[in-house]
């Protein structure tokens, strides 16, 4: 048994739902109890889809168990077919149904429906959501595209000047916008997108996948099993680079140009993004060396680590993923930065790692957003699991050149702006500047905690200034109290704060105060200092400043 407080991924059948919902005319019959229907709200509320997911649940009850749950399942498949007339039917079991072993695949096949029936074997007690999505997509592709004639010889690069985009699903993190961005990018190169799948594809489109020259894998977590099968079966190569950030996008363009038989240097030379200039502009100097912790699915964590270091000049102080299947790649990337990758799906372990790394910015999932909130560190979300605010109304891709611009804006936003940081120092004694909270950072955390759905869109209060930037504010201003989130517990035997030092600490703007406190305590603890004096405070400041 694994004690789990929050989970990064749902069960594998939720991954299958993401594929079924992404496809246009495929229905999924899931042998599951009634409570499992909660998964619908992920699509209708979080993603705000205007249709129910194409999923029929058998919703068997205890009284059915001794009786005929198999019969119930067959009825559900039959009725779903009659009602929805899908082009293909996926069938499978949720965790509970897996235990009662009704064999949904066998039962459905015996109904003799006139459309393909695709049985899904998703071991619920071993695997998770992304694996389930990848496996489901692979089964769909194999079944629906497997009839096309196999090519006798390797393809000539650029024979049809077309490719498929593989991997975007329902409930994906900005998948909707990445498709558009990359389709434009490819069009600029004269490459046509043959099929985007699974998002928006019909069963007939899946059957056309083999017509393209090669495949673009957007999200390896989901598309790799299908892409490998297409490579083996139809000799379609697929892309391996992650088009996140300007450099990632350039590598991607080079890879695509090579696959398409184009002049790679010329294609790469055409790629630019405003983010590159913004990063070089003087206002961005303050970003240099900001300590950043990255955690997410493998694709986005790898992409973010690269952008953070190469394109924003941050220092990577932590890198991790919950995608165990791609641990090797993430480990290698972490090692390149002298780090040990954090491979886990234990939220508490991630929390401990972030706390220990004392980052100034966290790039993570909605989970890390909450960890960062508690630690009073700014955070931007880069990866699923998703929240309603991860589906913005505006165009907001993560990939391609526009994606690089979006990343610049969304990561730098929660940090202090250089200009404002100076203003802050200048106005620190102005009583009107009381809460010392830059206007763009939203509001201080409200002590009111809602018990239903949090719809707030504030990122985080508080800036990312390190102890090095401890602007000493006047004690007379109405400083906000320590924000509502509890300060991390101080271990027994921790250094004691002398009153004078404590007073001085209170003069530090509240949004860096927690950090200053922690750093000073760490500095003291490491040196066996038991009493923190005014000097200790400033020694620590000097120590941590760069």
């Amino acid at each position: 048994m694994q004690l789990s407080v929050w989970t990064y991924e749902g069960p594998p059948h939720v991954g299958a739902m993401r594929i079924a919902t992404a496809l246009k005319d495929v229905h999924y019959v899931l042998h599951a109890p009634q409570g499992d229907t909660y998964a619908d709200l992920l699509f209708t509320m979080i993603e705000r889809r205007d249709h129910r997911p194409p999923v029929t649940y058998t919703t068997f009850q205890a009284r059915d168990l001794g009786g005929d749950t198999a019969e119930l399942f067959k009825r559900a498949v039959h009725e779903a077919y009659e009602r929805f007339r899908p082009a293909a039917i996926l069938v499978g079991a949720s965790c509970t149904a897996e235990l009662i072993q009704d064999d949904p695949g066998g039962l459905a096949k015996r109904l003799g429906l006139p459309v393909p029936v695709i049985p899904l074997e998703l071991p619920s007690y071993q695997r998770r959501e992304n694996w389930g999505a990848g496996e489901t997509f692979y089964q769909v592709v194999r079944t629906l595209a497997g009839g096309a004639p196999r090519p006798a010889a390797p393809r000539a690069p650029g024979a049809t000047r077309s490719c498929n985009l593989l991997g975007p699903t329902a409930l994906g993190f900005r998948h909707r916008d990445d498709i558009l961005e990359l389709t434009r990018l490819l069009a600029d190169m004269g490459i046509r997108v043959n099929v985007v799948a699974p998002l928006g594809a019909a069963a007939a489109d899946i059957a056309r996948l083999p017509e393209a020259d090669f495949n673009v894998v957007l999200y390896g977590e989901i598309a790799t099993p299908a892409a490998e099968w297409l490579q083996r079966t139809y000799r379609q190569p697929y892309t391996k680079s992650i088009p996140i950030g300007l450099n990632g996008t350039r590598d991607f363009v080079r890879e695509v140009a090579t696959l398409a038989g184009l002049d790679a240097d010329a294609e790469v030379a055409r790629i630019s993004a405003r983010s590159a200039w913004y990063s070089r502009s003087v206002d961005s100097t303050y970003l240099t060396g900001k300590r950043v912790f990255v955690f997410g699915d493998a694709t986005h964590a790898l992409g973010a680590a690269r952008v953070a270091t190469e394109e924003l000049g941050f220092q990577l102080v932590g890198l991790g993923t919950y995608t165990r299947e791609r641990a090797r790649e993430v480990r290698a990337a972490a090692e390149a930065h002298g780090l040990t990758a954090l491979i886990t799906d234990d939220y508490l372990e991630v929390e401990r790692a972030i706390e220990a790394a004392t980052p100034e910015l966290v790039l993570g999932t909605q989970m890390e957003r909450h960890i960062a909130k508690r630690l009073q560190v700014p955070c931007a979300v880069i990866s699923a699991p998703v929240h309603v605010q991860d589906f913005p109304a505006r165009y907001s891709p993560q990939m391609g050149a526009e994606g690089a611009n979006v990343l610049f804006d969304t990561w730098v936003h929660p940090l202090m702006m250089g200009l404002e940081e100076h203003l802050l120092t200048m106005f620190r004694e102005d009583f009107e500047f009381g809460d010392l909270s830059p206007s763009h950072l939203g509001h201080a955390p409200s002590p009111r905690v809602d018990h239903t759905v949090e719809m707030s869109t504030t990122l985080l209060p508080g800036g990312g200034a390190a102890v090095a930037e401890m602007a000493v504010a006047d004690a007379g201003v109405t400083l906000a109290d320590e924000p509502a989130a509890p300060a991390p517990p101080v271990a027994a035997g921790a250094p004691r704060w002398q009153p004078q030092a404590e007073q001085e600490l209170k003069k530090i703007p509240f949004f860096v105060r927690g950090k200053a406190r922690r750093n000073t305590e760490r500095y003291a603890a490491e040196r066996g200092i038991t009493d923190i004096t005014l000097d200790t405070l400033y020694e620590a400041k000097a120590h941590f400043s760069r």
Binding site: Q2, P33, L41, T59, H78, T96, D450
Partner: protein, 433 residues
């Protein structure tokens, strides 16, 4: 198509009159949460209790999704996720549970009650949580932690029934009130603290002194129960809890549920009658509150009177709320769906429904959606999975879960309750996009 086909799952059993009300009984796909969901509000009510679901990743994901977001770094609920090795017998599930509980209690020393919550997987593999609770009680009891167990599984419980199962599991732990104790009132069902305080003030003003609420705010402070206990239900989904309280000698006071002015007055009347408080005293005490509630409702009546509302089965609040909307706000009832019809508990509300209203028990969600589209009600009360799709079809909806999470009981919430139904209509009126 060659295979012989069984009869459709959703075929409705022929309608049977329900004291003059036709009831459509359906068995098909249900679109309702399981009882685990109750943890979302129970853990907030009893702040010294911890809820440990023994289940699958699905159960953990449900809780996380139903709770909306991760509000606390570490909430007072968690899931012990059953893994392959537990199923394959490579590890003893009971030993594993002991280990997980040990870790949990070590980290959360403030916990006074631990609820082991069964799920579909734990029930299907017949993991005996009762035995686990007994054993863990022996181990952790001396440290002041009581361990309880109940089922919130989707194969046994529907949404709010999880609270029923939880409270019923607590009843045996309630202290015994002596047979000659003062007559006392026990208000049963989770209410937001603010509403509980309002009712406590009203009961005090009425002269009912011995009043306790169940569940209590601190799970370690359980109310006593005995033959002089009068049970007044605040929520309509507590059938097992009532039954176990009756077994402890208590008496159940039959009343409609305290929604709106008339519901609240009749609910309080039931308590007054049991405590021999003259109705004149009740009238005088509650008049100002009832008056201002009536004024608050008046503004909403303009929006709601004559409009048609349809309820999808969800929380069991459907019948009391339908009564409120029809009787106090003049709405017409298109169809009132309930997960299951408990005639005893909702009887007084049922009797106040207009004649001829269509009741539906159980669910076949696709057929119900067909009926909904055909009826095109002015407002649909439904779960989160259905709301946006129906809005996209042009129907106004109210998500039912908000009715569970918001303070809606009593006089001073009558206006707020009505507002939950008018807001979707007003919003549609305001928007021009």
């Amino acid at each position: 198509m060659t295979a012989t086909l069984p009869t459709p799952a959703g075929c409705a059993v022929p309608a049977r009159p329900e004291k003059g009300l036709p009831v459509l009984r359906e068995r098909g796909q249900r679109e309702v949460f399981c009882g685990l969901t109750g943890i979302v509000w129970l853990h907030r009510k009893m702040q010294d209790a911890f809820f440990l679901v023994v289940g699958s990743r699905t159960c953990a994901h449900l809780l996380q999704s139903a709770a909306g977001v991760m509000i606390f770094a570490e909430p007072r609920f968690a899931t012990a996720i059953i893994e392959d090795k537990d199923l394959a017998g490579r590890s003893d599930a009971q030993d594993e549970l002991d280990r997980v509980v040990g870790e949990l209690l070590a980290r959360r020393p403030g916990i006074r009650s631990l609820f082991l919550v069964g799920s579909c997987p734990s029930e299907v593999i017949k993991l005996d949580l009762g035995r686990a609770a007994e054993r863990l009680n022996r181990r952790h009891g001396p440290a002041g932690v009581r361990v309880f167990n109940y089922s919130g599984s989707g194969i046994e419980t529907t949404f709010t029934q999880g609270e029923d199962a939880c409270l019923a599991a607590l009843v045996p732990a309630l202290p015994e009130a002596p047979a000659d104790a003062e007559p006392n009132l026990l208000v049963v069902g989770t209410l937001p603290d603010i509403v509980e305080d309002q009712f406590a003030r009203i009961f005090a003003a009425l002269g009912i002194e011995q009043v306790r609420f169940f569940p209590p705010r601190r799970s370690a402070e359980l109310p006593a129960v005995g033959p002089t206990t009068r049970v007044l239900l605040a929520q309509p989904f507590l059938a097992d809890t009532v039954r176990t309280l009756l077994e402890r000698g208590a008496t159940h006071l039959r009343a409609p549920f305290p929604f709106g002015v008339s519901g609240t007055t009749r609910w309080l009347t039931a308590a007054c009658d049991a405590f021999h408080i003259p109705s004149e005293h009740l009238r005088r005490t509650c008049l100002p509150m009832a008056e201002r509630a009536r004024v608050a409702l008046e503004a909403h009546r303009r929006w709601l009177a004559g409009k048609r509302v349809m309820f999808f089965p969800d929380s069991q609040l459907e019948i009391p709320l339908a009564r409120f909307l029809a009787e106090e706000l003049g709405m017409e009832l298109a169809e009132v769906g309930v997960p299951y019809l408990h005639r005893e508990l909702v009887g007084p509300d049922l009797e106040a429904l207009p004649r001829g209203v269509q009741l539906a028990e159980g669910q076949d969600v696709d057929r119900q959606l067909d009926r909904c589209r055909a009826a095109r009600p002015d407002l649909v009360v439904c779960g989160l999975g259905l709301a946006n799709p129906l809005e996209a079809e042009g129907l106004a909806t109210k998500w039912s879960i908000e009715l569970i999470f918001s303070p809606v009981h009593g006089y001073d919430q009558a206006g707020d309750l009505a507002e939950l139904f008018t807001r979707p209509l007003r919003r549609r009126n305001v928007l021009t996009v």
